[in-house]
């Protein structure tokens, strides 16, 4: 007993994370007017008196935006409210045309859902507290770094009034890594349902993270910090990892974590205090009198449910069963619906799912990442890939040359045969032609040849490599191997 009291145990903490995700909806028109939502137009060309908040204008709810929000709710296993109500959230900021944002405070469209995903061989479930529909503000561009110090600022109201959903999770996330994996799964679902394009770099997906620590076993929440300015899922994980360290140190010192909003500094890799919770504005929410409560017809919800596509986890399961892929492969291929569709088209054209999977998970995804491209922008077709793989199968080109050809096809869309011909990449399978090179290599590498003759077979690979080098990779490796063995190994 005495020894136990002598060692003061270091408290172990449980990490508690909840996320707030804003996703722009992919509707053609804004949420209160008919203006286009297309990204990248000239500033202030997609505006009208309504989305500029001119005196006398009134909002009219775009049903399509409600439908998209409901679809998101259904895909995230939420129950849908029988009635949608809107509120005004008030604050003064130049990008907010009406000095209030129309949002849903007390009566969100969707409640109580969840996302399930795999993490560390375990199935995790993160609850969705609610999803509500609201509007975007405009976009400020400062002549200088920040609003308060800028000489002047310009405002683009094209974004003002684009429909937005805010997804608020339960505080169910237990690690920074889990936060990132959850977000990846959420993004897949939103993309699958075509509710949002989830482009963080264009701002169509934004994440704020709430994090607190508590002693393991405790059921009471600790003071939380809200982290803002998270520009990628990677940043979410890094910022949360930083917060875990920072908050652990504070608690270990016996101090209290401040309840505050913190800003993630990507370059320094730290979070910085912005304001405490006491300083936070009262948004003075009040009911929106210009939009009557919107009744949600249950039959309409069922029609929207029927329109939902196969979701990522269902598709992953099907890939494992139908294509006999490892769960890992199926997971990678189904993360992006467009990659999954491409995979299925390739298998339809070529067969051999595992081979296709290897090529897509390797070369295809690598090149997508490198080029920052989207599947639909890549000129390579499933038929093209099938042709390439057939050339490899027939031994017309080697596998390694195949990768080179693949890269060319990926970027130019030319046919495999054309590239092979153009660049003279056919595999050399002519015994006479190769025998001459093999003999030359043996002559130039007497030591290695002697080792092989003495039975050290692993050295044969070196000699094969020399032949491949001399033929710039075009030699048929199987034939080279045979020729070397015939000359150096006594049968």
């Amino acid at each position: 007993m005495a020894t136990e009291t002598m060692v003061k145990p270091v408290t172990e903490y449980e990490v508690v994370i909840g996320l707030e995700i804003h996703a722009e909806l992919l509707t053609d028109a804004k949420v209160w007017c008919g203006c286009s939502t297309k990204f990248g137009a000239e500033p202030n060309t997609q505006v009208c008196p309504v989305c500029m908040g001119l005196p006398g204008t009134l909002p009219v709810l775009n049903r399509e935006a409600v439908a998209y929000a409901i679809k998101a709710g259904l895909a995230l296993n939420c129950s849908i409210a029988p009635e949608a109500r809107f509120d005004r959230k008030h604050y003064f900021y130049p990008d907010l045309p009406k000095a209030y944002q129309i949002t849903q405070n007390d009566h969100p469209l969707c409640r109580r859902g969840y996302v399930e995903f795999e993490l560390g061989g375990e199935t995790r479930r993160v609850g969705i507290h609610h999803i509500h529909l609201e509007e975007e503000a405009g976009k400020l561009m400062h002549a200088g770094d920040r609003l308060m110090e800028a000489e002047y600022s310009l405002i683009d109201y094209n974004r003002a009034g684009i429909p937005l959903i805010e997804i608020v999770t339960e505080p169910d996330i237990r690690s920074p890594e889990e936060a990132r994996v959850f977000l990846e799964n959420l993004k897949s679902i939103l993309e699958y349902t075509r509710v949002s394009d989830c482009r963080m770099e264009q701002g169509s997906l934004r994440v704020d993270a709430n994090i607190s620590l508590r002693p393991k076993g405790s059921t009471k929440f600790g003071n939380k910090a809200e982290i803002k300015n998270l520009n990628s899922f990677r940043a979410v994980q890094r910022a949360l990892e930083y917060e875990v360290r920072r908050q652990t140190e504070i608690l270990q010192r016996g101090e209290e974590v401040a309840a505050e909003t913190r800003h993630w500094d990507e370059t320094k890799g730290v979070t910085v205090a912005m304001r405490t919770k006491d300083e936070e504005d009262d948004y003075r929410y009040s009911p929106e009198p210009d939009i009557p409560p919107f009744e949600v017809d249950p039959a309409w919800v069922e029609r929207l449910r029927a329109q939902l596509p196969e979701l990522p986890r269902e598709k992953q399961q099907r890939f494992v069963e139908q294509y006999e892929l490892p769960a890992y492969d199926a997971g990678v291929l189904t993360a992006d619906a467009k990659v999954a569709d491409f995979f299925e088209a390739c298998v339809a054209a070529y067969g051999k799912p595992k081979i296709v999977s290897n090529w897509l998970m390797g070369e295809f995804l690598r090149l997508l990442r490198e080029d920052g491209a989207e599947v639909q922008d890549v000129p390579l077709t499933p038929e093209g890939l099938a042709e390439l793989l057939t050339l490899v199968d027939r031994g017309v080109i080697s596998g390694s040359i195949g990768k080179e050809v693949f890269e060319d096809m990926f970027r130019t869309g030319k046919s495999a045969a054309a590239i092979v011909k153009e660049r003279g990449l056919e595999q050399i399978s002519d015994e006479g032609e190769l025998a001459a090179v093999v003999d030359q290599v043996i002559a130039e590498n007497e030591d290695a040849a002697a080792k092989v003759r003495a039975g050290e077979m692993k050295t044969i690979g070196f000699l094969v490599g020399q032949v491949m080098q001399k033929t710039r990779g075009k030699a048929n490796p199987k034939l080279v191997n045979e020729l070397l063995r015939a000359r150096l190994v006594q049968e």
Binding site: P49, M52, G53, L54, P55, G56, T57, L58, P59, V60, L61, R88, H90, F92, P94, P97, K98, A99, Y100, L147, M148, S153, I155, D282, Y283, R284, Y285, S286, P287, P289, D290, I291, P292
Partner: protein, 495 residues
Amino acid sequence: MELHDLTVRELRQRLAAKEVSSAEVTEHVLRRIEQLDPHVGAYLTVTADQALAAAKAADEARARGEAVHPLAGVPGGLKDNIVTEGVRTTAGSRVLENWTPPYDATVVRRLKDAGVPVLGKTNMDEFAMGSSTETSAFKKTRNPWDAGRAPGGSSGGSAAAVAAGMGYWALGSDTGGSIRQPAAFCGVVGMKPTYGLVSRFGLIAMASSLDQIGPFTRDVADAAELLNVIAGHDPKDSTSAPGRAPDFTAALKAEAKGLRIGLPKEYFTEGISAEVQAAVRQAAAELERAGATVEEVSLPHAEYALGAYYMIVSAESSSNLGRYDGVRYGRREAGADVPAMMTATRALLGSEVKRRIVLGTFVRGKERLPEYYMRAARVRTLLRRDFEQAFEKVDVLLTPVTPTTAFPLGRRVRSQMEAYAADICTVAVNLAGLPALSMPCGVGADGLPIGLQFIGPAFGDAQVLQAAYTYEQLAWPEGAGRAWRAGKEVDVDGH
């Protein structure tokens, strides 16, 4: 009868008979505005060229024998919180003194489509906050029948214009009596339609759940004519009622028999002057003699209406007025940074507007919203129920409009509450969203008109018009808006 004193329907007959052209009439009224308005101050902006162009277009259409709208070529004015494309719209405020809207309000579009010439924009209390038109940032409007008295407000300019023959009709807006009270003070007919009957798209909002556009005219039938143009569903206003509006002129039958009239006892209290109460009871007696039944009814929650009204009106208007920050339109005052610029710009607002913004911002506070705003919303439900119960027994309610005849300009009130208390007979109608019409029913000891209010159930606008028309045919067959004054001239002495 002077040309400018005709009713809309009389003028229409002359236009149809080609006794006079719309261009002549419009020129005549514009001349009258030029001569008289320096004394009255009804208009903030006169759009003579546009009005004449519309008048000529209407004349040409008539000359070609086309089927023109009944109101084609009949000129009138618009309260300056009704948005007009290309014509400065100020809402009586310094912050919008240079704002030229890029669009038309739905009611303006409908008037233009009907070939109606618009003479200009009329003066009003700043952002419709007031009951004398004195909070206008630009000028005073005088009561046409006594230049020392207020025309009422907030639609004082519209009421004065119609009373003084500077337009055959005018549109105003009514949030808590802003059409009915100035109509009573100036001795014309003013109607606040059921909430949702007339589109609010293009009405600069004060309190969105209460605001409603309505007409000022010289008789009840003209109010029905105007309502026929402006009423009906508008897809741009989600609070506008679905479906087509009925033909309100069809309801105009003088028939007292079978009409059940209620006198809500809570509207005949000590706060209402004896002569006003007597005049209203007199009107009820006349209708009774002609065959109507009159009974006393009760609206038990009436005493809570004023408090609930000022909570809701302040909360909603403070929210609606946040947008006047100098960023996108209107005047912008210089400031060292953005908050300073916004603050300086908002300092242009007048003291009544600021008072309501402060009160409204206070009651919308996180902890206070349930205690004030939500409680006011519950009072609203109770008031609506009171009215519904009353309308199970009667067709219309008959009440005073204001405690007294027009009060003096520059009157000093002992407290703001005293000024607000004068709205006692008008605000519950807005809280319940009901239709109500104000018209003259007598003359006070000071020679100024006394107003009478008809209140109907929601979407019983035709019912209200029918009852008011019946009374008018009994008491003022020449038109209530001019018969009461019997030869009285516009007071141009000034004070």
